[in-house]
């Protein structure tokens, strides 16, 4: 869906910060949150596989935060849902970044802008992009689960995968796509 432009800016946002003070965004106000707030996991070493997967997941979250800004510009009727979703990705981005830094590795910086697969020109295309965002996030977190034997990290990744799956279903419901759910979120 989104790919970073080649030159991330110096001093761009996305540095680790404390997070987890509020609940993650659900896809809408009606369904109860499925997972708890993305708290910063305890520090610990990461295997090369897990680190690479976690860095990819962080990149997906950074792209999601940027792309939801684009969605917000067009999907005015779903402003609350967009804000909640963006907030959820923001919290998870920070928690993921903190986890990487705590392991002694370097967290990738976000890009200045991202190339999206959908040309966003109206509310309909904006909601298409929202679905792409969640599909990409789900795929990234699923890879993290399958790249580590650490039960704590698997749980952390599962919350990211579940949140993305719920948001994807909510966006599909908004646009009237049936079925709204998929049997294996994150699996292509």
């Amino acid at each position: 869906m989104t790919s970073p432009t080649p030159t991330p800016p110096a001093g761009a946002s996305g540095t680790p910060s404390a997070s987890g003070s509020t609940a993650p965004a659900g896809a809408s106000g009606s369904p109860s949150p499925v997972t708890a707030a993305p708290t910063t996991p305890p520090p610990g070493p990461l295997t090369p596989d897990a680190l690479a997967a976690l860095q990819s997941a962080l990149s997906a979250e950074q792209a999601a935060v940027w792309a939801y800004g684009l969605v917000a510009a067009y999907a005015r009727d779903q402003a609350a849902m967009v804000a909640e979703a963006r907030s959820g990705h923001l919290l998870r981005r920070d928690a993921t970044s903190a986890r990487i830094v705590a392991s002694g590795a370097t967290a990738p910086e976000p890009a200045a802008a991202y190339q999206v697969s959908v040309a966003v020109t109206d509310p309909g295309s904006a909601l298409m992009l929202a679905q792409d965002i969640e599909t990409d996030a789900a795929a990234a977190w699923r890879v993290v689960i399958g790249s580590t034997d650490d039960a704590e990290l698997r749980g952390f990744a599962l919350s990211g995968l579940s949140d993305a799956a719920v948001r994807l279903a909510m966006w599909k419901q908004v646009v009237g796509t049936s079925p709204a759910t998929v049997p294996f979120p994150g699996q292509s």
């Binding site: 499925v34 699923r142 399958g146 039960a151 579940s162 759910t181």
Partner: protein, 181 residues
């Protein structure tokens, strides 16, 4: 033959008791009978049974919930359109879980049935469903929550491949709860 504490046991009584116990123990150990041949019976107790694959519990839960979803769709025409896609998801979960079981247990008869496309167990049957449409949806949502917890718990000790599969199914169940909320 009870004796008071401190009462000395006679040598004869001791021999009779020991003989009875010895004969019984011999029968138990050897498996012979008074009228049988000298051939020892085949041992029937497996002292080191094969550990059960934990995926069996997940398959059983999924199959049960599929039964209930089928019954709910049949009983509640109003909610059938939104329950049917969820049933299809659960059927896909069951197929994937059975395929994963068959992958690691190719000699298991039930796994062979899965590999050849035959259902290992029926997914239709008589189960009771609540009377009201609200009750039906609530029951389906409760099943999804139960299964989500079960799959989440199974992630920690599973192999990497299975953990990704279980996690994906748990996330799917989370979305089921959301669309039914």
């Amino acid at each position: 033959m009870a004796t008071a504490p401190g009462t000395p046991i006679s040598r004869r009584a001791l021999l009779v008791g020991a003989g009875s116990f010895g004969a019984g123990a011999l029968l138990v150990v050897s498996g012979c009978s008074y009228f049988g041949s000298n051939e020892p019976a085949a041992p029937t107790i497996d002292l080191a049974p094969t550990a059960l694959d934990p995926i069996n519990g997940l398959i059983a839960t999924t199959r049960l919930h599929l039964l209930r979803l089928n019954a709910a769709i049949a009983a509640d025409a109003t909610d059938a359109p939104r329950l049917t896609p969820l049933r299809d998801d659960r059927q896909a979960h069951l197929t994937a879980l059975e395929a994963e079981y068959a992958r690691l247990h190719p000699t298991d008869p039930s796994a062979t049935a899965v590999a050849t496309g035959a259902p290992a167990a029926p997914t239709t049957g008589a189960v009771t469903v609540p009377d009201s449409p609200e009750g039906v949806v609530s029951a389906v949502r409760g099943d999804a929550a139960t299964a989500q917890v079960q799959f989440t718990d199974a992630i920690s000790a599973a192999s990497r491949y299975r953990a990704a599969l279980f996690g994906s199914i748990a996330a799917s169940l989370a979305s089921h709860r959301a669309v039914l909320a």
